[in-house]
């Protein structure tokens, strides 16, 4: 706990510094017609710097030896985050590559997680990993007309 508290306070202080840097570039004083663009961010960041300094001292002086998270409790968290990042990349990877679209990626993600974490049998997995994306497609794409990222499979069906 103590280490992460220290790190967080330090990160906040760094954040304050970065903001002050840009606020000074914009001008943090009084312009021709009132406060300049950097005025509000500057004072926020300055105050954040002061607050995070006190938080840093508080964390430094605290005697908490309790770890932020134990190894066996953190593994399930990573098991959620990993596939989640994979799902986002599959949907539409950053850069010039085109992705599979949200619905197909969602199906693959659902199936993968159900198998990996839940150990469900294949019939349930295939059924749910198909039905859930199809239902979401019908609700969002056709009923409420909210477009989602689409890929080759949707194109093949004419969308």
């Amino acid at each position: 706990m103590r280490l992460l508290d220290l790190v967080t306070a330090a990160v906040l202080m760094l954040l304050g510094g970065i903001v002050i840097y840009d606020a000074l570039r914009l001008g943090a004083g009084w312009g021709i017609e009132g406060p300049q663009s950097g005025f509000f961010p500057f004072w926020l960041a300055a105050l954040l710097g002061a607050v995070s300094l006190v938080l840093l001292v508080q964390a430094w002086r605290s005697a908490s030896v309790e770890p932020f998270v134990t190894r066996d409790r953190f593994i399930p968290v990573l098991k959620v985050l990993g596939p989640l990042a994979g799902f986002v990349v599959l949907t539409d990877p950053p850069g010039p590559w085109s992705g599979l679209g949200l619905y197909v990626a969602a199906g693959l993600y659902l199936g993968f997680y159900m198998r990996w974490v839940g150990r469900h049998d294949w019939r349930t997995i295939v059924a749910l990993a198909t039905v859930i994306p199809v239902i979401s497609f019908l609700i969002f794409e056709t009923w409420f007309l909210v477009p989602m990222p689409k890929g080759p499979v949707e194109a093949w069906f004419g969308y």
Partner: protein
């Protein structure tokens, strides 16, 4: 005059389409309230894009009904599964779960839903009469008054929020800072973008809400290894009727808790302390305080009444001042702007049909709500029996869809992921999330009010203290800000022990 307007509102809220919308909202909201990782705020945020094409009044009815539903849903998980879906349901678990384990879940849930309804109803009646008056007063407010109210909003998180006041202050400052990222509409300059084009659009608080409260909450619950082993439930009409015969005995608790709830509720973050406070009062005034915590019906009545009275009261500053009292109200405020309405006192002048339709729908929505939850409790409880490995990715996909839909932009899904991790870390380190979201929402308004005030006063901060209304509000705000510093000093003066009972963290 108020009643005529209310009648006008009912003509809007009781159309078949709007009643249908209310039923859909309550059903969705209750499901959202029951599901882990989805609560009032992010549930409303995810479904917000679906309302873009609706008429504003129907849209707000849908969103508020989702909110009422989520409030009811929180009671189901608290009583049956001992899992408080929302922080203000924590006190409901104290007596709710023991009752459910003793096979009296029907009674417990009936008491919870009925109390919620009573608390909500009390606040709605007060809103009906106070909202127009408050809006009338607020019409005379200038930028200094609005900035002073913002100060008051955030000072109450610092002074009354419990936990480490500096951490509350830090999250408020970060929220405000993030809100300034992007184009400054006053000067036309780009701020805090550091040359990244993606940052030009700034951060949308709806994405932040979905990430912080949705993904963050899921990460927390898998870490805690939640297993949903709930008590059995069945709702028989006879049990409901029998419980209704007992409940009037607690009329004192109902009245006291409603008042506590409303009073705490229109200040931000008030629902949670209100529920604990009213539980403590009920216990103190009870003839059998020793029964509390072991399955006393009154121990459910008190926190549920107060939490719902507070949840409804949070709507009062939202519709009259344009300043939301809770993250959920903040998301609704974002909705108002998207639908093309200007939040604040002018709503009562420019869009009376919207405001009064909304107020009337609070009555209809809560009546529909209590009937639906009473009738379908087993169905809602069954949702939590869906295996965890299916529920988790499903909620994640829904969050992703909701994030993307706001601006049709892929970067928002990445932001959702980042905010999720931040939410997880902040929650573990006791950095409160609600003030962060509110600061992100109100950032532009606060900055504009500050700028205009300073222009009015030629740069002197004294303007906030010299104008009578803003002076009083600012003074109270300053008092709240310094309260965490004064309290230990005051205790030492009076010779009281250091520390004392910690108020619950938001």
């Amino acid at each position: 005059m108020g009643l005529e307007n209310l009648f006008l509102g009912f003509q809007i809220a009781v159309t078949p389409f709007n009643l249908f919308i209310a039923v859909v909202g309550i059903l969705l909201g209750t499901i959202i309230g029951v599901l882990p990782g989805l609560g009032g705020a992010n549930g409303v945020a995810i479904l917000l894009p679906l309302t873009f094409s609706m008429p504003p009044t129907s849209a707000i009815i849908l969103l508020t009904c989702i909110y009422w539903g989520a409030l009811f849903g929180g009671a189901i998980t608290s009583v049956l599964f001992n899992i408080p879906g929302e922080p203000w349901s924590v006190a409901t678990t104290f007596d709710g779960y023991p009752l459910a384990k003793a096979g009296r879940s029907g009674e417990a849930l009936t008491a919870a839903f009925t109390s919620s309804f009573v608390g909500a109803f009390f606040s709605i009646v007060l809103i009906t009469f106070f909202a127009p008056i408050l809006a009338e007063v607020a019409l005379k407010f200038g930028p200094p008054e609005f900035f002073a109210i913002q100060l008051l909003t955030f000072s109450s998180f610092v002074g009354l929020g419990g936990g480490n006041p500096l951490k509350s202050l830090a999250t408020i400052l970060i929220g405000f800072m993030l809100s300034t990222v992007g184009l400054d509409i006053v000067t036309g300059q780009l701020r805090l973008t550091y040359g990244f084009t993606d940052l030009m659009k700034g951060f949308d608080f709806i994405i932040a809400v979905i990430g912080l409260f949705g993904i963050g909450e899921i990460l927390l619950s898998v870490e805690e290894g939640l297993r949903f082993q709930g008590a059995k439930t069945e709702m028989k009409l006879r049990v409901v009727l029998d419980t209704w015969k007992i409940l009037p005995r607690f009329y004192r608790t109902f009245v006291r808790s409603s008042i506590i709830g409303f009073w705490m509720g229109f200040k931000p973050g008030g629902a949670t302390p209100a529920s604990f406070m009213s539980y403590a009062f009920a216990k103190r005034f009870s003839k059998h305080p020793e029964r509390f915590g072991k399955g006393e019906l009154e121990g459910i009545v008190a926190p549920e009444t107060a939490a719902h009275a507070a949840g409804v009261a949070a709507m009062l500053p939202m519709i009259t001042l344009g300043i939301p009292g809770s993250p959920t109200a903040a998301v609704m405020l974002g909705g108002l702007i998207i639908w093309g309405l200007q939040p604040g006192p002018m709503l009562f002048v420019d869009n009376p049909d919207f405001v009064w339709g909304l107020i009337a729908s609070m009555y209809t929505g809560n009546v529909i709500g209590v009937l639906i939850v009473l009738a379908f409790v087993p169905f809602f409880a069954a949702i939590l029996r869906i295996p965890f490995a299916i529920l988790t990715p499903l909620i994640v996909v829904i969050c992703a869809i909701g994030s993307y839909a706001v601006h049709n932009s892929m970067i928002d899904i990445w932001y959702m992921l980042i905010f999720g991790v931040i939410g997880y870390v902040f929650k573990k380190l006791d950095y409160p999330l609600a003030p962060f979201v509110l600061a992100l929402v109100l950032g532009d308004m606060a900055e504009n009010a500050l700028r205009q005030s300073l222009i009015m006063s030629q740069g002197s901060l004294a303007i906030f203290l010299t104008r009578p209304i803003s002076g009083v509000i600012t003074a109270v705000a300053i008092f709240f800000f310094v309260m965490p510093v004064l309290t230990p000093w005051w205790r030492r003066m009076r010779g009281m022990p250091h520390g004392g009972p910690e108020s619950p963290q938001l």
